[in-house]
Amino acid sequence: MNPFNLKHADERIQVSRDGAVAIVTIANPERRNALGRQMRLALRETMHHLLVADPESRAIVLTGAGGQFSAGADISEMTKRTVLQSREILNESCQVVRDMLGGPKPVISAVEGVAFGAGLSLAVATDYLVAASSARFCAAFLRIGLIPDTGILWTLPKKIGMSKARELLSLAHEIDGVEAGRIGLANLVVEPGQALSAAIAYAKQLAELPPLGMAFIKTALTFGADDMEASLRAEIDFQPLLRQSQDHLEAANAFIEKRPPVFTGQ
């Protein structure tokens, strides 16, 4: 089953659709969706395909099967690797972070159950996080003598500030969905069982917005985030292009004519 003809497809990374929203589900329920290397490669390629080569979708939801998000990297796979192998695997894992945050379409995570370790890293590497109140978040890395990885050293402080991020990353303690909402880790907290539907609803709203503007905002916020000059260059480079886009003209005219706009992505 390889509908997108990927090099690394895996039946444990599943794609379904709801209108203009593509839903990516991590499905390894007996291991609480722990991610082995094959699954991570498949996730990376699936996500990349949906972001850049899938005209049907305008927004993506990332979730887990069986009432869990992901318990993180598969510990049983943590056999001795050479330094060079470790480096390569880490680099592989991080590409999906760059793609989800800096790629052209909005990505929303829907978290039920556990988001531990790299599971947390993936949940946080999105534009918007919907959490069930009973969801459980833990940057468990230090508990097994590792540093937090899969981009979380950058994404978590960005999301919740350095004070809180430092606390969660270094004490490796668990917090629930309610606490996650309170500290800004979750953008939205819902009743248990509702995270996916709430995430899809939100994704559908974002899917209605002009795709070109969305894409440029995302890239500016991810790759120009840490440098004022880069931010200013982004607006000078992108805005004139956007001003000339069909979607921008459509938006301005629809507003003046008091009618709903129709966006094509041009």
Binding site: I75, S76, M78, K80, R81, V83, S86, R87, L90, N91, C94, V97, R98, L101, G102, F141, L142, R143, I144, G145, L146, I147, P148, D149, T150, G151, L153, W154, T155, P157, G161, M162, S163, K164, R166, E167, L169, S170, L171, A172, T222, F223, A225, D226, D227
Partner: protein
């Protein structure tokens, strides 16, 4: 918990011990623990020793006599040349760098006043516990000075750039309750409870694997200036951790469903 003995007047930075946690107390009560030259020298020396001492796994930083640190010693502020000031600035910056980049976690326990350099020392810590009625202020601009001892970096890290700008430009006071609200403090407690609460947290830090903690601190200090740099940092550091004894021990312990015992290697 060990208690501090009566100290001679030049014991301006006291060190005591509670198991794997070292308690560093700023002790210049007649000037509300002002950050005098002697205090800076002794603090740098003490912290350097503790950072390299194997028995110490975490550090609590606090002030004697119910106050943390009231800031620079104004009586020491006489006229000096630019080069002399550059020289004198080195010491607080060395302290700041050691606190932020060093391998061991620092938990600040703040009672009373933390102003000027007092704010900087608290902000440079990894975790801040403060009494609800503690008093903070970045008062530098009022006396024509700029924030120092790394506060330009550390304040924004804790409360966000916008709030840091407000606090530095207005020089206004904020209390422990607001400190916790804005993220400056991780935890606020009843007056008088800060040290105890800080020790509890420090003991939790002391249980974490030392090598991973040291690398995490280094990464958060200067390894995450962009997404790409953060990814580079983890790619560089994680393989080291993967080969560590403590990581192997932890994965074994996980499989065998027992608590891990870390040795720091």
């Amino acid at each position: 918990m060990s208690t501090t003995a009566q100290t001679p007047e030049d014991d301006i930075v006291q060190i005591s011990r509670d198991g794997a946690v070292a308690i560093v107390t700023l002790n210049y009560p007649k000037r509300r623990n002002a950050f005098s030259l002697k205090m800076r020298q002794d603090l740098l020396q003490s912290l350097t020793q503790l950072m390299h001492h194997d028995d110490c796994r975490a550090i609590v930083l606090t002030g004697a006599d119910g106050t943390f640190c009231a800031g620079g010693d104004i009586s020491e502020m006489k006229t000096r040349t630019v080069l002399e000031y550059r020289e004198r600035n080195q010491l607080p910056l060395d302290i700041f760098k050691l606190m932020v980049e060093g391998p061991k976690t620092i938990v600040a326990a703040v009672e009373g006043v933390a102003m000027g350099a007092g704010v900087s020392l608290a902000a440079a810590s990894d975790y801040v516990v403060c009494a609800a009625n503690a008093r903070f202020a970045c008062a530098f601009v009022k006396v024509g000075l700029m924030p120092d001892t790394g506060l330009f970096w550390s304040l924004g890290q804790r409360v966000g750039a916008g709030k840091a700008r407000e606090l530095m430009l207005t020089a206004r006071e904020f209390n422990g309750e607001e400190a916790a609200d804005i993220g400056f403090a991780n935890q606020q407690v009843e007056p008088g409870q800060a040290l105890q609460a800080a020790l509890t947290v420090a003991h939790r830090y002391a249980q974490m694997p030392p090598l991973a903690m040291a690398h995490l601190k280094a990464a958060l200090a200067s390894g995450i200036d962009s997404l790409d740099q953060a990814i580079e940092t983890e790619v560089n550091l994680q393989p080291i951790l993967r080969r560590s004894q403590d990581h192997l021990e932890a994965t074994k312990a996980f499989m065998e469903k027992r608590p891990a015992v870390f040795v720091g290697n």
